[in-house]
Amino acid sequence: MEIPYEVTARRDTGLYNAKIGIWLFLASEVMLFGGLFSAYVFLRVGVIDGVDTPWPLGLDVHKQFVWIGFVNTIVLIASSVFVVFAWVSLKERNYQRFQIWMVAVVLCAAAFMVNKFIEYKNKLTEHHGIKLVDNSVMEGKIVHDTEKIKFAADSLNVPLQGGLPAFLGDFEGDFPAFKAVYVGKEEEGKEPVKIEKSGSSAGDFADWFYEARRQVAEDLAEERKKLRDAKKEGKTYQMKPVPTKGTVTPAAGEGGESEPFVLRPDNRKMVNYSRSEDGPDKLNYIDAVTVDGKVLADKIEYELHEINLQQVPITKQDSAKLWEIFESQGHGYVKDEFMEHQAERIQELRTKFKDKPIPAKVMQSAFVNLIEAHLHEPKTGEKKGGGDVHGEKAKVNPAADDGHDKKDDHGDGHHGHYTVLIDRGDVKFFGNHGPRYGNYYAIYFTMTALHGLHVVGGALVLAYFLIFGKKLYLKNPEHLANRVEVGGLFWHFVDLVWIFLFPIMYLL
């Protein structure tokens, strides 16, 4: 059976099947990316000043990626040109040249993805923001791994309902040796069921967990049945409590001594932790696992790059939380710099408007909210050390003329050596510049990742034509040309989406 119009065009429509198919598919793709663009606009326009996270964030954090975006745009445009040339070569029945152009396309796709990878990696590992409880924001970098607390666990109380507990992925190092115990319900004249297991792998733990969970479920069902039966007969029955939790403790490893587990809980999986004077510290997981032990470390070590007070009301900027933190660790000069610039800006306005009152809107936009700031050696015994500070420490944006100073700052590399310690109690929210950090990053990652998937998909299809096209070419070159045309249409569409992504993600 042959499907008609696979290669040749139908007379009345003038189209072959695949071409209709791809255009329909592209129409649905338009709606797919259209939905995302619409979400972008909706979320961005809907931002409430001073309440929601502003779009986009920060100063050079944002700008340093423009070049990557630019290069990627060039790469995609070039590949688009190569695809049409590949198609023309096939129309000219020149298979060799088709291969050359196609290789160029696939290389471009690879270059695009490598570039993308560099950008993602940079955003995810080099940049972190911390929002304090009063909405003042610091941009910079969290020193490796201090974003997670360190907790020495002596015993864990694990509920035996639902799925495997979340803490299994949080051990520092290898899966430790453990001992798990579940003691079943008490009944007269019977030993309670006891399910015990020692082991040193996640698999061992899962064995114990599932067995104990089954026991719990059976006991519960039994009690329920008794209750229902009693009800049927018109009697009352007091259900016996069924313990639903098991205990996990560290076991003696090969060394002989048992040591507490060291947990590095993921922030999203942890509800809270508390220290206590008399007795063990507690850690509560989101899946109701409770841990007794000791908090080993919980301060965030932070390397500051920028200060962002966009979400702090102007009148409260003077008493923002972050100044306290800097002050207490000998970095009081940061605030002085900030205030100095604030005063300068107001002075500028005053001279500009002379005696007239300054319009509220102008006033508002003139305030400094973003400032680039670097920490340096704490000057002990010097409370307000503005005088001794080098002039380049803080800069105000917008300030177009000192772009080169910034480079110097990076160049002499003294940032990164000095850090502040931040108490978790002061933090409202923190994260790397990944999708969690704000809706700009969320939509940036979603859209570019989806676009990236399209690039990979398109490149795979084109590579398939390149590698396996010969057979089809020999059989019917027009068929291969059609396929390349269709694949090319998809590729151009991917390019077209990027043309819009570049300005809205990197420039606006």
């Binding site: 040749t8 065009a9 429509t13 003038g14 189209l15 071409k19 209709i20 255009w23 329909l24 129409a27 338009v30 709606m31 259209g34 939905g35 663009f37 619409s38 606009v41 909706f42 326009v45 809907g46 502003p54 100063l59 944002h62 700008k63 423009v66 630019f70 745009t73 060039i74 445009i77 070039a78 688009s80 040109v81 695809v83 049409v84 040339f85 023309v88 129309k91 000219e92 973003l370 944006n397 917008p398 177009a400 027009e478 059609n482 090319g488 249409l489 151009h492 569409f493 390019d495 077209l496 043309i499 819009f500 570049f502 300005p503 809205i504 990197y506 420039l507 606006l508």
Partner: protein, 117 residues
């Protein structure tokens, strides 16, 4: 066959592809300049309406070049135009009717009436 092209036509095609490729590069540079060259800065601090209009217009021109020349939409069959017309219409609906919910003249009027007292 309807789609077979003569060598002359192909040569013409090639020329236009090269021209469009160069035009796209130029436009990309313009976009970049708008973004990072201070006199034309589109970027920080925040986008103004002019930034958005200029930026999206340039992107729109680039996109239509790709669509018209590379994707052959300058001489496509009417059926395809019909698909795209519908798609474009619904895309506009999705884009602007949702935004409509954020900007409501009637509610604004009511609010301002009450806030005036």
């Amino acid at each position: 066959m309807a789609d077979s092209l003569s060598p002359e036509e192909l040569a013409k095609h090639k020329k236009s592809y090269t021209a469009v490729g160069i035009a796209l590069l130029v436009f990309t540079c313009i976009t970049l300049a708008l973004g990072i060259w201070p006199p034309l800065d589109l970027g920080v601090p925040g986008a103004t309406w002019e930034d958005v209009v200029i930026g999206l217009t340039v992107a729109g021109v680039k996109a239509s070049l790709v669509a018209l020349i590379f994707m052959h939409l300058n001489h496509e069959k009417s059926l395809i135009y019909k698909f795209l017309l519908f798609t474009f219409f619904f895309f506009l609906g999705l884009m602007f009717l949702t935004l409509f919910a954020l900007w409501d003249p009637i509610r604004e009027a009511i609010d301002s009436y009450y806030t005036r007292g």
